[in-house]
């Protein structure tokens, strides 16, 4: 085959293209475009048809749901055994960011726990047993405000008559930056109200990989925990030795600046909008999980006043009638001073989670008692 110059423009290479060469180049270009369009088209249709995260948005291939029937426990099941989300579907962190899509829309549940790793150890099974509701865990490790709000909105979109919401909030809700920056990337498109947004983001090697995984799952691969519970304590050796306090974000724990004015908390303003759409009869329990006392700003400092003001603002959001409550464990207490209660400065252990669950259940059960009294 004779090499032909590519005629580009005057002053470029001499224009000696022949008709036969042009035919060959036409074949080259069409081969490129055909293969490219074929790859993209086939992969895209496959991903949409498989629905890798069980979002239920489009008619899929009818594959078994990611949380259907496998997994241990499920709604109302006894126990609370720690089945890590790592089983079969990527690491815990990734699986919760994407796996919560299926859990959040599942009709098996009518109550949910939201938050980040600070709420992760609250057991949906124990809460279900104690309240008679069907709880699902929708916390996301490392999540800031916007991710948690997206998760709440997704759950409420599919459960307009929810029995209860438990919000495990922390210092990240007290940030004053209107941009509400993320700490780690989050697939908001999966939780979007718009199917167009979903379609615009569905094409990637990650969704392709997870589509194959879902096909494998349908063939009997290991399941994810059916209620979304993930115990970060499981399989790890506890060795918390309190050391020098690390810089904290959100609450300026060791900040001695004077607290001069009442700041706005953009996260709480967005939470207001969401709570406004929730039926008034749906109880909302807001929990501030405990942290080791060194994380707390010393009394009398600007940081403490800032924290107290933010706490007060958070507490206002829980004033919704019977069943709703504001449970503040983020205080300097005997619990907060005992290293035995913590995995690290920020993360409590299961014994503390059980104590918190009891108080959450007690609050929620006041509604049932009130309704029984009313009847």
């Amino acid at each position: 085959m004779k090499r032909q110059a590519v005629e580009i423009a005057p002053g470029g290479v001499e224009p000696n293209e022949t008709k036969s060469a042009d035919r060959l180049w036409r074949r080259f270009a069409l081969a490129y475009l055909g293969v490219f369009a074929g790859i993209i088209g086939i992969v895209y249709v496959f991903i949409i048809a498989v629905d890798p995260y069980d979002s239920g948005r489009f008619a899929s291939l009818g594959l078994r749901g990611l949380f259907d029937g496998l997994g241990r426990g499920g709604h109302g099941a006894a126990g609370g055994s720690a089945q890590s989300g790592a089983a079969g579907f990527g690491d815990t962190d990734t699986s919760q960011r994407t796996g919560n899509v299926a859990l959040g829309r599942s009709p098996r549940f009518n109550a949910a726990i939201f938050g980040n790793s600070h709420g992760q150890l609250l057991s949906p099974r124990r809460l279900s047993q104690a309240t008679g509701l069907a709880f699902v865990q929708l916390t996301v490790p490392g999540a800031n405000v916007r991710e948690q709000l997206a998760m709440m909105r997704w759950f409420m979109r599919h459960h307009s008559e929810a029995g209860a919401l438990v919000l495990a909030l922390d210092e990240r809700w007290c940030v004053t930056d209107p941009a509400l920056p993320l700490r780690t990337p989050f697939p908001f498109w999966l939780y979007s109200d718009s199917n167009w947004v979903y379609l615009a983001n569905a094409l990637s090697t990650r969704t392709l990989r997870d589509s194959f995984r879902r096909v494998a799952f349908a063939g009997g691969a290991a399941a994810i925990d059916s209620a979304g519970y993930s115990d970060y304590e499981a399989g790890k050796t506890w060795s918390f030795k309190p050391g020098k306090p690390a810089p904290a974000e959100g609450f300026p724990a060791r900040d001695d600046r004077p607290f001069q004015r009442e700041p706005d908390f953009p996260g709480l303003i967005l939470l207001d909008a969401l709570l406004g759409e929730i039926p008034a009869k749906t109880p909302v329990v807001i929990v501030l999980p405990p942290q080791f006392y060194t994380q707390l700003p010393p009394a009398g400092t600007g940081g403490a006043r800032f924290r107290d003001y933010c706490k007060w603002q958070i507490a206002l959001r829980a004033e919704r009638g019977a069943g709703s409550a504001f449970l503040d464990f983020l205080v300097d207490s005997a619990i907060a001073r005992n290293p035995e209660n913590f995995m690290d400065e920020e993360h409590y252990r299961t014994n503390v989670a059980a104590m918190m669950e009891a108080e959450i259940a007690a609050a929620l059960n006041t509604r049932r008692a009130a309704e029984a009294g009313h009847d």
Binding site: E7, V43, A200, S204, T205
Partner: protein, 508 residues
């Protein structure tokens, strides 16, 4: 209004008789604050909601580019119509980033063309000078104002407010193109073009954001050529191939190198790197910068070819250079040519004695550094290369050429030291990394991600440039087409994993 001084020094300064300067800065700051506040009320581009539209984003490849090409060829037989399609596509492309800068872009184009028209009609040169001043003023305001204020502050010792104006993307590139046209008009090297092709010469979206910096006479005559002329399939094929080559370099190499270099540079100076980390960071950024920028250039040239247009070369495997002079003949060629023609030669060049040569070289390279960013690290990077060019010139005048391998090693070391300055956020960071490179942070550690670095090095030094590929007269083998298409398909899937990363040179 922000306070000019927090410690009363402004009073002393005013007593020295420079109250007018401070008052003008106060006035300017009020104006900038008002502009910034008004800015917040005007909606930005669709990128805020739908994500960025970069060359490597799915929206660009799967939607924008096919639609633009189809519309262009649908009206290809009418020059005015196809130029209009390209202008509209370019405005959509730019407005996608931030629609608020469209008036600035069109304003600079319109003002420059009007000045050229006034000159044509009056024969007087002052409109051209005014046009240059307007473009420089725009560039200075949006890119260098805070930098200049910082200089004034350090001289007078008074805290001054900053504007924090948003930098219009690509302003350095389109301002330079407009200035070069006006200067060429002064030199009688450029005609008065009709407005449409003149606007398209600046707006053409393949080069609008980050070059190559195109001279009017390289591009405007091409607008008259029918894109369906002989060789259309060869141009299309080469365009698709070059686009794929750049796409793969960006997604598979540059972005992955960034994941190595960025965390290491961001740890400095809080943490001193050990020997292995310092060399990893330096090598990773060295290859990231080339893979990133040359990838953008190859994609730009490839896209332009789809429209039947040829953009100039920007890189010619610079990391095989055996001297600093050769490096600047191979690195960012369109900028090098601009600096040579519009700065170095007017400043005196090499034909007016050694002192003038030193002045011209250092001046041109200092401004070249400043062009890259409003910071002293960029200026010093430019001067570092100016110094290198002088030494290189002196060595070559001795007529004792260095062995090629030694010349290559010295050149690469010199260039990499420069890249540390270029990448570092400040001199403290740069000094820390450079100190670590010679073991100041300990001789431990090892070079990480060696496989990726070797792959990037091989690609940087062995893969021909876009124009080299064109001039090699490639054969239209279908196997190459299928392989390239599969690679492009994989890269499209890869970029879907997260928001696309900007090309480094977008910030300039």
């Amino acid at each position: 209004m922000a306070r000019v001084s927090k410690d009363g020094r402004s009073g002393r300064w005013q007593r020295r008789g420079t109250g007018a300067l401070l008052a003008s800065i106060e006035y300017w700051h009020c104006l900038a604050t008002a502009v910034n506040r008004a800015w917040e009320w005007v909606p930005g581009g669709p990128a805020e909601r739908f994500g960025k539209m970069l060359f490597q984003s799915q929206g660009f490849i799967l939607l924008f580019l096919p639609v633009a090409v189809a519309a262009y060829y649908a009206v290809a037989q009418w020059p005015a119509a196809r130029q209009s399609v390209l202008i509209i596509a370019s405005l959509v492309f730019y407005g996608w980033w931030d629609i608020r800068f469209i008036p600035l872009l069109l304003g600079q184009i319109g003002a420059s063309w009007l000045m050229s028209l006034f000159y044509e009609r009056s024969g007087r040169r002052w409109p051209l000078y005014l046009g240059v001043v307007l473009n420089l003023a725009s560039l200075a305001t949006f890119k260098y104002l805070d930098f200049l204020i910082g200089i004034v502050q350090s001289v007078i010792g008074v805290d001054l407010p900053r504007a924090h104006l948003v930098l219009p993307i690509g302003i350095s590139f389109f301002s330079f193109q407009l200035i070069s046209y006006l200067v060429d008009r002064m030199r009688k090297d450029a005609p008065l073009y009709p407005l449409r092709p003149f606007a398209l010469f600046v707006l053409l979206f393949p080069h609008l954001i980050a070059g190559p910096i195109v001279r009017h006479n390289e591009l405007v005559p091409q607008f008259e050529l029918d894109p369906r002329r002989e060789g259309v399939w060869a141009r299309t094929s080469l365009g698709l191939f070059l686009f794929t080559l750049g796409f793969a370099k960006k997604v598979l190499l540059a972005d992955r190198l960034a994941e190595i270099a960025d965390p290491l540079f961001n740890r400095v100076p809080r943490h001193m790197l050990d020997l292995g980390e310092a060399w990893t960071a330096t090598l990773a950024f060295t290859f990231q910068l080339f893979c990133d920028f040359s990838a953008y250039t190859e994609m730009a040239i490839g896209i332009a070819l789809l429209f039947g247009l040829l953009l100039p070369e920007n890189f010619r495997r610079p990391y095989v250079s055996t001297s600093v002079r050769e490096f600047w003949r191979r690195w960012h060629i369109s900028l090098s040519n601009f600096i040579r023609d519009y700065l170095y030669i007017p400043l005196g060049g090499s034909r007016h004695g050694v002192p003038r040569y030193v002045f011209a070289t250092m001046g041109a390279m200092g401004i070249c550094g400043l062009w890259h960013g409003a910071g002293w690290t960029y200026v010093v990077w430019g001067l570092w290369h100016g110094f290198g060019l002088l030494v290189c010139h002196g060595w070559q005048s001795l007529k004792r050429p260095m062995p090629a391998l030694a010349g290559w090693a010295v050149t690469m070391l010199f260039v990499m030291v420069g890249w540390v300055l270029f990448r570092a956020a400040d001199f403290h960071t740069a000094a820390s990394v450079l100190y670590s490179l010679v073991g100041g942070g300990g001789f431990g550690g090892r070079i990480q991600s060696m496989g990726l670095l070797i792959a990037a090095a091989l690609v940087s030094m062995l893969v021909p440039s876009a124009h080299e590929i064109k001039d090699m007269r490639p054969l239209p083998w279908p196997a190459i087409a299928v392989t390239a298409a599969a690679l492009a398909g994989f890269c499209v899937l890869e970029v879907g994993n997260g928001p696309p990363l900007n090309f480094i040179y977008f910030q300039f």
